[in-house]
């Protein structure tokens, strides 16, 4: 349950190419692909809804020990189910690690690409709209 920083996510990029893509709003208007993150925290809420599922984590900064509630956007429920999710995959109190891209506006908000359930190590793709054909 601490903030972690990771640069070695190259393998994840290779895997992602095979994942079905969904899209709704402009990814790049809201998120910055040049600001990747990897964060761990405790699930406080899940909104299993169209067009995007959101979940919220309490994340403790490893230096200041300050707790911030972050929001993360994923794909639609049907897109998530194609990637192995159900509406009960994330439960309040679960500890998870999220990889994705930060919001441009600097708020505690990001687009999730991959979610890892820390208790099992299970790695799930979040049906992000970040990947695309030209």
């Amino acid at each position: 349950m601490r903030t972690t920083f990771l640069a070695a996510a190259v393998g994840a990029g290779l895997l992602l190419a095979a994942v079905p893509v969904v899209a709704h709003h402009s990814f790049s208007a809201e998120f910055d692909a040049d600001k990747p993150f990897k964060l761990s925290g405790v699930v406080t809420k899940v909104e299993w809804q169209n067009p995007h599922t959101y979940f919220y984590l309490d994340i403790t900064d490893e230096h200041t020990k300050k707790v911030t509630n972050w929001a993360f956007e994923m794909g639609s429920p049907n897109g998530l189910m194609r990637n192995g999710w159900t509406r009960n995959t994330l439960k309040v109190g679960d500890v998870v690690t999220v990889e994705g891209s930060l919001a441009r506006d600097g708020k505690p908000y990001g687009n999730a690409r991959v979610v890892v359930l820390n208790s099992t190590g299970k790695r799930l793709f979040a049906a992000s709209s970040q990947t695309a054909n030209p």
């Binding site: 990029g13 992602l16 190419a17 893509v21 969904v22 709704h24 993150f37 067009p51 995007h52 030209p134």
Partner: protein, 286 residues
Amino acid sequence: MMLWVRVGVAATIAIAAAFYSAQAQDPAPRRTAEATPRLADGTPNLGRVPGEKGVWDVPYIQNMGMRIPGPDGKTAAERSTPGAGRGGAKAEPDVPFLPWSRAIYDYNSKNNSKYDPEGYCLPPGGPRMMATPYPMEIIQQPDQKRIVMIFEGATHIWREIYMDGRAHPQGEALNPTYLGHSVGRWDGDTLVVDVVGFNENTWLDYFGHPHTDMLHVVERFSRPNKGTLRYEALIDDPGAYSRSWTVAWNIPWSAESELTEYICQENNKYLQKLTDDFGEPLLAPR
């Protein structure tokens, strides 16, 4: 925050490179060795074979300017040449912009398609139906002289293509709609669909090529093998472009898939918090 931003840049570049090499071309062919399925009368079957599943796995085509076939029949995307990115109109010499459409396109490029109507959960219009990355099916009903296309995504839309030889409605009888009025015929093994009657509430693509209600689209659907739908669309809009232009791409068959529910309008936080160029909320009272 700056620390992990900096640390992450190298990883992002590596990830972007991996994405590009894997996705610059259309998805790997599946079932391309199998022959085109046909209906009893010999017409190509653009849908499922009885007893099997399957949907068309529509790709995420962001920029129609990268999908214009050149003299060799291949598009810039199929030749794997690097994309123009968000270079605006000047990066797309093959798109015959008029001055106003050039200016609008540059604006959409500069703001990263912030005002994309699909972000408001409005439907795609014209060829963007086949470029919005949710699966679709084509259901032929020759006894009823029609073809129905159903789309999981954008806004759970469907379209009916009249195959009974009728003409488009004329004058005010042609009501502008998001998906237009479609009449179809077979040209050999190719389904040719003529579409007019679009409203102006949509973009041609995610990158924001605009169109007017003068838009006339001629689509050509063919299935050269079981695993591939070849899609071509002539974009003829004298209100926005100085001449017609054609875009084309392949759509792979996903043999084990079925459509599921996707209702964009449920909880669209993007639109709820979208602000205009002056920082004012688009939806809230001013």
